[in-house]
Structures are given as structure tokens and as C-alpha cells.
Symmetry: C2
């Protein structure tokens, strides 16, 4: 029963004989292949540095600025009062009698509790979520797009990520001996490469056009498809709009060309639209894929689509409460039944995330007691993010060695760095990607935590990093100043 | 691009030409193979009947009694006040200043908020959960077992199911061309067959011994292993203790024999211990696998183990809030690093479920302002469940055609039905499993919703069903009476 096990991970524990049944060499290769850069080595090192600082270690900075993860509240944004009051009343219905929250808060909590088994958020809901909330989402979508939405096409999920994985796994079938390929943008949000690797699917990258505000080009889609189609069955395309990490907002024309391409190649569209309310550029407007698909008419309006939304982004930023939904459009009804069946084994999305979504799709109306405060908080948040988007874009653009597209939407800037050849050389000597080398130096010397471009994908021999625009305005200003100092020093060292 | 698609699901929609990219014939075979009987056709029909009743349909009953799902609050159990007050304060920190909740509630909420980014439950936590809560779990486990627990071996999850799937997927590797087999009890909780099917692993069933209080026999484990070992690599064994759907509580001796067997065959143990506080039989006691493993000493104490716990069961029954944890023991550290990496892509378990777990592992102590009420509510709940367990077991045992083991623990009775040959014949004519036929008749004629034994697995030519013991005492009594009437009528019809 005892046997030798190969050593991995540089650990000297492995030098001895191991009797483990679960060893690296017997581990799922898909799990080994998964990478999720947003919580990768740089994030782990940032957390270590935080602990070192707490233990009194001396560093050239007082605290770590976590610009690596789109974690709105962690960066000091206060929650939206209406949402939190509704959740508190639903969790503790005695508050409905005893506390001084506005009447519309209490009424909303009662409404939701009436849809819960035993009038409790502790009861399981349907695996697709509470019917009343699904109907409220459908009403929101119909109003947003000017086209009807069927509530039975809507499922709630614990964050958008869970929904995306639920749809992706439907594609796990080799046909004619070939795996399924999923087209994803490069750069992309690494949930996609992680989930695709986990499921044993194939990532088929198409490049976003940095010189054209990170837009999509029809030629590039054709090139990417053709290059992959010989080795896998390309069956779906992922679009992230507004873009993560790239911050672009696609034009109507761009969306039309994607839909036409998807129709031509018979692709299922994944529309990751979790930043749909984060639009900052005055010349940009958010169009949902569903809306454009409806308006293109036959035959394009028959294209299969799943659109994803999250409680973690937009103005509410309730990441920790794990709310989200998806709308499937034109999905074969037998397939939808299989999708819903497959979701039932993990029972249901958490009820609190569902309540947050209810508040998002059915905001207080003018005249409601909560309206003024809600509107003030929401408007302030979106306006402040727009200012921070502008500040980040301008500062990076004026820094030597950087260029940065306009942050039209989402929560990130994705500047390009012109790394000096000596820095690239040094990185290679250290067996690091040059952008990882840069980001690690930035972290160690300035306490700023960003995610290197290689974690999202980028064109060969180009280097980027993603920073959120979420630090509060004063902190962001300070961060950009520190960044500027670091960059000047770095260029001097390696020029 | 257009092509003919085979018709599935009896739908006449399919008779026409389909241009869909995602059709049943191109769907993941693993998804098609998944079944989760607890939310299967009977549950779907029960929900339909509820809607029919709401629309004024005339039935021989006024409402559906959902005894099919372990949904504590939906069956009228009120939540534990302490837990809900802590959650409400953490969600809405203004309550800490303004409301009249006890001081220990407020202190706990503050403690948790100090561990949250930006002092908000809306921030992401570490993918393994909040460090402080992981440490509190470790302290609880050390006290429960009398053996140390390392907090870095503990991960929180959104319900136990998510944790179980996270460990199962590590085993997705074919070795020497053979898939991995996972030993599961028959009957089993169908999350296991569903997750194993989804992941493309192989279910290797071992029978529980109905004549011996649903205990495990070492011979049966050997038989099951030997039968499977030629076609797959058996690498893990799942034990559900206390049992679902079978309600048994394993003896120390039984657990020792499983650990010795697992050691002999080099198996990883999945210890599903989500009902660890639901022990009703005076002669039964809960022993964790971790505890017995530690106490068996070398070489058995080196066996790899993952133990799972949930916020959905025990006395709190907070199903909708999706809290859970797992402790991994003796896991190779490189493998654990891969496990944690693989969990990071879906970011983190929801914070509210984490808070519930914190309250469960760190209860109010004698002297704390919340102690008396907490203790009263917890004790009442567990005592009442014990009474209901007894009531269900006795009633089923005295009914003609039924035999039912003692409900030693968990939340279910799993009686055996002696179906008359004519009923079996009738079921076969209707192309139904005989126990499904029985359960469907029960639902249509009496409004009682149970899960047929075939959804959990049972020995050939034996028939069972699972009913929860969760209806409130008065309703349960009423339900058992209706059941008795139905059974008498059924036997008369088919004798």
C-alpha cells in the first residue's frame, strides 16, 4: 500500500515515502490546470505583507492598498441603507414591529417573507430562486430593454459566477471526438479560464483591440474561430460588457456584429453584463445583448443567449452577500429543464443574496419614504466612481512608460506598461513573467496590490496590469501619486 | 446550419427542424445522467398541486404536507433568536446603537464586523471563509472531540453540499485508464449520486443493513469494494452519520471498522456529519470520524478524511442562509493548496451563512444575556424532534404492511412497505417504479409529499419511502393519521 510519490510544490515534506491516497500525481488534472489570478500569488503575498505590518515589520509604506479585487465595501464604500434595512427586517421580523425603519422597508420585507416557506429566510427556496423575485427581475428587464422577459427564463444564483458555471457545464460533451471550445476575450476575467479548465473545455481566445478602445473586431472573431475550429467544436462565445479588466463599453454596432457572427457560426452567447450600471463615459451607453438581439429581428433574434448580472457590482457592491441572476433567451425548453434539474442538487441560492437582488430590480419610487436617501446614495456612488475612472485614466496616461484607454465603464483601469528591456531581462532571470515581476516590485516597495496582465491574457510582448478604481477618492489620489513615484524609480533603475 | 434534432421529453415542439446550438443530443451526458430525487418529479407535482389548490381546485385535502424535504423553517419551526439578532446587527450596524437587542448579540456582531473588509458583510471574505470564524470552528471541534483541530484545515462553504462537491472533484482523474470509484451507502442522500454523475465519477454502492438498524457490515464493504475494483479505482468512501435517509446513528465499533477498512484499502473518507446534533435515541451517541480516527492510533490515525457540517440541520435549521464547513484531516499539504486554489474562482461563501456558523460553534454561555432564551429554544427544538422521531417510528411500525427502524437520529423515517403484488403489477403497467407509484398515489389522494425509496437506492425488490419528522407535532400526528387511512385504503384496493 505504501508507495513513492513525486515531489511537487518545492516542499521537502515529499522526500519521504507517502501513503496518501490523494496526492498531486493522482489529483484531477483540471483542478491542477485552474488558475485565478485575482486571488493568485500576488494577492496571497499582499495578505502576508498585511500580517507582517500588523506584527510591526518595517516597510516603506504603512498599509497595503488592495487595488487588485473589485471589492467595493472593503475599499470603504458604505452599503445602500435601503438594501440593508430590508435584509435586516427579513432576517429578524421582530424589527418590523419595533424599529424605526421607513414603512416601505418594512412593507418590502413583509412582501418577501410572504414568499418564503414558513415566513422565514431560513427556508429553502426553489432552486431557481423565489418566484416573486424572478417576476420582479423580469419586469426590470422588460423595462430596461423595451422587450418582454419571461420570468421562467430567469434563475437567481449565488453571485454571477455560479450561474456562469451552471451554463458552461452544459457544454461538456465531446462531439466527433472533439472537445467543446468556448470563445473568450483576451484580456478576460479569469473566472472564465478557471471554469473552462475545471470543466475540461477549451478556451478559444479572441483579442480585444487595444487601439480601438478595447472593442471587438469581426475579422478577429473570424480568425480566432477558424484557428480553433479544426481542433475543437466551437459552440459558444463569451462577451464581457462593460469590460473586465478592460473597462470598455461596447457600441451598438459592435454588439450587432457579435450577434451576427454568433448566428453565422451557430454559437451560444454568454453576455457577462454584471457592470451594466457602471457607465462613466458621456459618449457611452449600455445596450444589453438581449435588447439588440430582439431589435435585429429574424433570423438573429433566435440566437441563444444567457445574460448574467450580480449584486456585487454596480452601485450596491454587495460582494459578500452573493446575489446574482441569469436570463436565458431562446434556450431549448428541454435543455432548460435539464439546466434547472442540474441546479436542484445544491438546493438553492442563499436567500439574502436574493433579497438584495429584489431591492436592485425594484428600487424605491419617488414618493416612497426611502426614495430620497436611496437615490442620493446611488447617485453619489455612481458619480464618484465616474470621477475616479477619469482620475485613474488621466494619471496613468500622463505617466512615463504607460498608456491607458478611457475607463468607459466597469470598475477597472488596464494600463499598458512599456517595460524597459533590462526589466524584462531581470524578470526572466527570476523566472517570472515581466508583468508579474513589475507588480511584485510595486507591491513590495509601495504596498499597492494590482493584478498583472498575464492573469487576464494579453497580446505577446505587451504588458499590462489591472487596478480597480475603488479606493476612496482621497486614497486613490494618494495611490496614484505613490504609483507615479514608483514608476519613475523603476524606470531609472532599469533604463 | 439547420439540422434535424431528435425528439426528447415527449415534447411536440421538437417535431420541427431546430437550429439550436444547445440541444439535448449535444448536452453534457453527465448533466443528463444527474438525478436528485428530493426535488424530482414528486416534488414538482406537489408544487403543482399547491398551485391548483390556490386556484380553487377541489381535492380530497386542503393543503400539501411537504414531508419530502428537510426544510425545518418551512415546516413551522421558528428560527433561533440569538442567531437572527446577530445577523441583523451585522447587516445593519446602525441597529447596534439603536435597537434593544442584548449586549452579547451586539458584541458578537461587532466582533464579526471587525473581521470583515471595510467593516461590512458586503465585502468578499477569504475563499476559505473569515479567519476568526475558522478559528472558532477549530475550538468547537477540539472541544467536541477532545483532540486538537487546525483552523487552516477548515473551510466554510455555502451549505455542506458545496464543500462535498469541492472535495469530490479532486478525484476526477482516470488512472491506468480507469475512472475513480466512490463508495456510497445504499440508501444514500442523492446529492452524492448527483454530484458523482455530474463529475463523471463512478458510484460504488454498499448496502446498509436494514435488519441491523441500518448499520454497516465489514463484509458488505469488502464485497462492494471487490465487485467494483476490477472496473474502477475505488479511492474514497462516503459515510452519512447520522444517516440520511435512514436515521441510524453509528456505534463506535461500526465507525472503527469503517476506518480500518478505509486504511486497508487506502481510501479517503467523506464523513457527512451534518446531523451531528440530531441524536434522539437514549442508547445512541454521536462520535465523529475524526475523534475515533485519532483514538485508534497508528496507523489508522493517518487516514485521510473530510468531515462536513451544515447550518441547515441540527436545532438551527437555517437552510436558506446556506452556511456550512468542512474539516480536512491528514490531507497532503500540496493537495490542500490545490483545493484552496480551486475554491478561489468562485470568490467566497456568503457572509451571512458564515455568521450563522459562528453562532453555532460559539453559543452564548451561561451568564450571557442571551443564554437563557438560546438554551430554551435549542433544547425545545431538539426535544420536540426526539418526540416526533418516536411518534413517526411507532406509528409506522404499527401500520399494516410497514416496518420501520428506530429513528435514532437525523430528521427522517425510512419505513419499508410491503407492496401487494397487484400494486407492483399496476405500477409496471404505468411504467413506474412501484414505490414511485405508491408515493404518487399518496400525494394525489392525501396531499402528503414523501420521497420514494428508489430515489435513495434500496435492495432489489424492497420498497421504502423517506418522510421527514419535521411537521410540527400536531401536523405530524394528523399526517400520520391520514397516512394510516390511505394505507388501509391502498391495501384494500390492491389485495
Amino acid at each position: 500500500m505504501y508507495r513513492h510519490v513525486k515531489c511537487h510544490g518545492g516542499s521537502n515534506r515529499c522526500s519521504q515515502v507517502s501513503s496518501k491516497t490523494l496526492t498531486i500525481d493522482k489529483l484531477s488534472p483540471n483542478i491542477l490546470a485552474m488558475e485565478y489570478a485575482v486571488r493568485g500569488p500576488l494577492d496571497i503575498r499582499a495578505r502576508e505583507i498585511e500580517k507582517e505590518l500588523q506584527s510591526g515589520a518595517k516597510k516603506p509604506f504603512k498599509n497595503v492598498i488592495k487595488a487588485n479585487i473589485g471589492d467595493v465595501h472593503a475599499m470603504g464604500q458604505p452599503p445602500i441603507t435601503f438594501i440593508r434595512q430590508v435584509v435586516a427586517c427579513a432576517v429578524c421580523p421582530s424589527l418590523i414591529e419595533t424599529c424605526c425603519f421607513p414603512a416601505d422597508v418594512k412593507a418590502r420585507a413583509c412582501e418577501i417573507l410572504e414568499s418564503c416557506g414558513g415566513y422565514s429566510v431560513g427556508a429553502y427556496t426553489s432552486s431557481q430562486g423565489i418566484e416573486r423575485i424572478r417576476k420582479n427581475i423580469a419586469a426590470y428587464l422588460a423595462k430596461r430593454d423595451g422587450h418582454p422577459s419571461d420570468w421562467e427564463n430567469i434563475c437567481l444564483s449565488s453571485g454571477a459566477s455560479a450561474g456562469i458555471k451552471n451554463i458552461l457545464r452544459l457544454f461538456c460533451k465531446n462531439i466527433d471526438g472533439k472537445k467543446t471550445g468556448i470563445m473568450i476575450p483576451i484580456p478576460q476575467y479569469p473566472l472564465y479560464t478557471a471554469a473552462i479548465a475545471e470543466l475540461g473545455l477549451v478556451s478559444v481566445g479572441y483579442y480585444l483591440d487595444e487601439d480601438n478602445d478595447w472593442g471587438l473586431s469581426a475579422e478577429e472573431l473570424q480568425r480566432s474561430y477558424a484557428a480553433a475550429a479544426t481542433t475543437c467544436n466551437v459552440r459558444a462565445i463569451v462577451i464581457i460588457n462593460p469590460g473586465n479588466p478592460t473597462g470598455q463599453v461596447l457600441t451598438r454596432k459592435n454588439i450587432e456584429s457579435v450577434i451576427k457572427f454568433a448566428h453565422e457560426k451557430n454559437l451560444f452567447i454568454f453576455a457577462d453584463e454584471v457592470y451594466q450600471q457602471n457607465i462613466y463615459d458621456k459618449n457611452s451607453q449600455f445596450f444589453s445583448f438581449k435588447k439588440i438581439l430582439c431589435e435585429l429581428g429574424e433570423p438573429y433574434c433566435k440566437t441563444e443567449l444567457a445574460s448574467f448580472m450580480s449584486a456585487s457590482k454596480c452601485y450596491m457592491g454587495e460582494c459578500g452577500l452573493r446575489g446574482g441572476w441569469m436570463e436565458v433567451v431562446n434556450m431549448d425548453l428541454d435543455v432548460r429543464a435539464q439546466l434547472y434539474k442540474s441546479m436542484s442538487a445544491i438546493l438553492c441560492p442563499n436567500t439574502i443574496g436574493q433579497i438584495v437582488i429584489d431591492c436592485v430590480v425594484k428600487e424605491p419610487c419617488p414618493g416612497d419614504p426611502s426614495y430620497d436617501l436611496f437615490n442620493k446614495e446611488k447617485t453619489y456612488m455612481l458619480k464618484s466612481l465616474a470621477e475616479r475612472a477619469m482620475m485613474a485614466h488621466h494619471t496613468f496616461n500622463r505617466m512615463e512608460g504607460f498608456s491607458c484607454n478611457n475607463v468607459q465603464g466597469a470598475m477597472y483601469a488596464f494600463p499598458r506598461i512599456n517595460l524597459p528591456p533590462k526589466a524584462i531581462q531581470k524578470a526572466k532571470e527570476n523566472k517570472m513573467e515581466p508583468d508579474v515581476f513589475y507588480a511584485m516590485r510595486l507591491l513590495e516597495e509601495s504596498g499597492i496590490s494590482v493584478v498583472p496582465g498575464s492573469g487576464f491574457g494579453q497580446k505577446p510582448d505587451t504588458y499590462h496590469f489591472r487596478t480597480t478604481i475603488l479606493p476612496q477618492p482621497k486614497v486613490l489620489k494618494e495611490m496614484l501619486k505613490i504609483f507615479e513615484g514608483f514608476q519613475a524609480k523603476f524606470l531609472k533603475e532599469f533604463s
